[in-house]
């Protein structure tokens, strides 16, 4: 027997319409590439989004068409996003920081029909025009005066929508229709596209609005540092309008000075970004003596947050830092390190160990720690396992069938992360599954050894990879990039690690390199390290 409740589909257009209706005058502040700050609000962005829909329909765009965006966080980008999704087309966010070849690959793979780009991205646009035949039109997310002079065919967003009506039919379709497309950065194989549905985006927004997640309120002013091309900007592009929070969109400038200026000028109360951004802000605050007094809460994600950042924000600036974990395939937020009742009751120092973990699962999702055979592992905070996740906001497959079947027989998605879960429910990532070193049937965390080695005064950057070993399957070796002018020996490093890690975790070799290769998102490129080490063999058998 079916329930007798209204059959209203969960489509994202309803979120912006809600904001325009009930929070119409809440500001949306944008900064462009030249540093100019412009003010709009939900009512105006909603009207512009409707104009975008009409312009798209006029261009013949249909439900399911992929419309690419290539740009930073700004009000025009936001209007484009909702204008695309409102008519059932798919907003495909391209990451302008990727290598050009990757962007070209991704746009071709997606078959993008149209491109909306920041004028600062004009050099990339020129290449895409030539190398992506499916792109029929390019619109620049700016006014006419800011068009890139080198692009003779340039059309300004403001001109494109100027004559359009502010009425346009939105939504009313199946909530399972695709809404957004975002490719993972692809550290293995080609980039793969995650195809979000209206339903998954709406549910994610609701899940993350909980008091124990991002806890956004109408009274918040949100500085959205995390880019819109990173997995829906952690869903804030949907959750902020849902509650009517004021939005501050910083464009391309994410240096400490720029962010401090926006925080102070706009009275920012909440922000979300990756640790490097916060490190930059902290450095600027210390150097300048400036303050961020309005800021109360910050969510940090993307990679593990150092304790020093959490402490500095809290002790020096009165900002509460929470870690979040997720990935493109998880919409992205899945865990948040908001304290559990038991942890909240601990003394302050004891709480820190939990703040450094990636946190507790949001209601609506399921987690599983599995060994190589799919068996469930205990939540004892010690036993590492492959992290598997299930829920209505989790990917079931990649666009175009790339990567094949990605769910296990219970419907769980393999995150590719190795983690522990403790008795309080806190999950902690210990490694990427492909980077974990498997020695004698046990797992060695490459990340943990790297973190300790980086603490050696001479070391700028450290990387641990597994090397084939006839007896132990794999053994870890440590690569070190020394600081300029610093010196250290193999023995120095091993002595430094001694006693800090288990004896059988000790690297079998230490290699000094001029530069440890980094990928486009700033993470250590272990694929390239492994390729560079082709033919390398372990020097000798280490007693264990």
């Amino acid at each position: 027997m079916r329930g007798l409740m209204q059959d209203v589909p969960l489509t994202v257009d309803r979120l912006l319409t809600h904001a325009a209706t009930w929070h119409g005058d809440r500001p949306i502040v944008s900064r462009d590439a030249e540093g100019r700050v412009t003010h709009s609000d939900y009512a105006r962005v909603h009207a512009d989004a409707k104009r975008v829909s009409n312009a798209l329909r006029r261009a013949g765009v249909q439900q399911g068409d992929r419309i690419a965006t290539l740009g930073w966080n700004g009000a025009r980008h936001l209007a484009a996003w909702y204008g695309i999704a409102g008519i059932g087309a798919i907003c495909h966010t391209l990451n302008p920081r990727l290598f050009l070849e990757q962007i070209v690959y991704i746009a071709n793979h997606a078959g993008d029909r149209m491109l909306l780009a920041d004028p600062a991205c004009a050099p990339i646009v020129a290449e895409l025009r030539h190398q992506v035949p499916s792109i029929r039109e390019v619109i620049y997310l700016c006014d006419r005066a800011s068009l890139p002079p080198e692009d003779a065919d340039a059309i300004a967003f403001d001109d494109w929508i100027a004559g359009e009506d502010v009425e346009a039919g939105w939504g009313g379709f199946d909530e399972h229709l695709a809404c957004g497309l975002c490719y993972t950065s692809g550290t293995t194989g080609n980039p793969k596209g995650v195809l979000y549905s209206h339903r998954s985006n709406c549910l994610h927004a609701m899940m993350t609005l909980q008091a124990d997640a991002l806890a956004l309120s109408a009274r918040d002013t949100v500085l959205l540092v995390v880019p819109m091309y990173h997995a829906n900007a952690w869903g804030v592009v949907y959750s902020a309008p849902a509650v009517g929070a004021k939005l501050v969109l910083p464009g391309q400038r994410m240096d400490g000075q720029s962010l401090q200026g926006l925080i102070e000028a706009e009275g920012v109360t909440y922000s979300a970004a990756v640790p490097t951004v916060w490190q930059g802000l902290l450095q600027y605050l210390r150097d300048s003596g400036k303050r961020i007094d309005s800021l109360g809460r910050v969510t940090i994600g993307g990679s593990a947050c150092p304790e020093s950042i959490i402490r500095a924000f809290r002790d020096e600036y009165g900002v509460e830092v929470t870690q979040g974990w997720g990935m493109t395939e998880t919409s992205p937020l899945a865990t948040v390190s908001v304290p559990s009742p038991a942890v909240a009751a601990l003394p302050d120092d004891a709480q820190m160990a939990f703040r450094l973990k990636q946190g507790r699962l949001l209601a609506g999702l399921e987690l599983k720690l599995a060994d190589d055979f799919g068996n469930r592992l205990p939540h004892d905070g010690q036993t590492p396992g492959r992290l598997m996740i299930k829920g209505p906001t989790i990917a079931a497959a990649y666009y175009g069938g790339e990567g094949g079947e990605v769910l296990d027989e219970e419907g769980f998605f393999d995150t590719g992360d190795v983690s522990t879960i403790d008795a309080h429910g806190y999950m902690q990532i210990t490694d990427r599954a492909k980077d974990v070193v498997k020695s004698g049937g046990e797992w060695i965390s490459s990340i943990e050894i790297e973190n300790i080695a980086t603490g050696h005064p001479a070391v700028a950057l450290a990387a641990v990879i597994g090397v084939a070993h006839p007896k132990w399957d794999e053994r870890p070796i440590l690569l070190c990039q020394l600081k300029d002018g610093a010196a250290a020996t193999r023995e120095d490093l091993l002595a430094f690690l001694e006693g800090k890690i288990a004896r059988w975790w000790m690297p079998d070799d230490v290699l000094f390199v001029d530069e440890i290769p980094l990928g486009p998102t700033g993470k250590i490129d272990k694929k390239r390290i492994r390729a560079d080490l082709t033919g390398y063999t372990l020097p000798f058998e280490v007693a264990r």
Copy 2:
């Protein structure tokens, strides 16, 4: 093109399973009719709920069967609720405070197959056994020692589930399946059943968990005063497990002393109830000098909350009071008086006017103010209109087709309330549509006149109803029930109202009655007043 996200249905069993997995040791505290307090937790209630499912399956219960409960808030009731819903049966909460004839009517209308009842409800159960032939089994929500001795066929819940397995397949069915059934108190016509779906209950839980709604956290201890038979206890039966909040279930005793005792003993941080309950608690606190220091937030709903309660809670006890509005047909929560940014910036006294309103709309819903012809009315805080509501947590029809078509052509449900909406988005109920007095094409709020008249020192209770009038269609008359030993004249009352309401709102007559009739939920029974006044005519034409 469909999105490629996991197809995980929103079924309520996942909420309790989440609580058992991630918050298994969070306590669930129950008080029974004798005042005994027992402690359980989410893991144990989850296990008991699984046992209930197995006991139901053993009894031949199928998906879609209606299983009635008749009782107060307690852990067994909670386990029954989830055990029923987990297998796709429908939990039908009967209200033990209704007149017996109504309960009999409702149980027959629903075709309840089984009844789970508090032992304190044994007299009602005896009648239901005879008058509701569809009920094949009765289980008492207690242990064997607490069984009502007068019922020879009594089976105790604890015995019923004792031998059952703690593994039972749950969920996995269509989220649109019916999950719960709750009848409205039926001030017009027969009671009508609202048939909640798993989807609507899950979405409602997520909507209400927002920071700008109930904002429940794992660190909260929730005293659930609002009964489980009142529209899902405002959804807290689902939202508290979703976040792992500690639950305190007070059973039948809702007097001030009992509640204060539980608040103090269990460290309650949050509670939800109707104004009369809070009035009783306040009175007890003042008389006894006792404190409720752990309590931080309270949501008040069910009827408008007097300013005196809001002020007393805040100023004397440091408790933040928020009003919520909703009805059985809206799951129930739809608006909450959490401050908007503009209102939060007002001086304290100016904020109070907004705290007294029923509040702002939750994201995911749509509101409409309509005149008698369905035209939309302005949100100016002045113009009253019929309040219409739309969304996935709003009823589309009543069980068995009672009441016929209840949605307008845009899919909005008519709440039967008359309200205003102001420029800040705050909705305020001004009357029930059927009680509003329509005079000369304009609406007069019966509630507003009643509220003012009740302020007269001699008046215990006041009621305003409309009486047919040849020229103005209707004119208001005022009925007064005087306090014991007090005296007042028609002229006294009219003089008291003078200047406090518009001149054309002045009642055409004042009648003094021994007792103003109340319905089973304590609201003024205007249907009976109108029946009692059959044949009454207005005394004379009043100049206006």
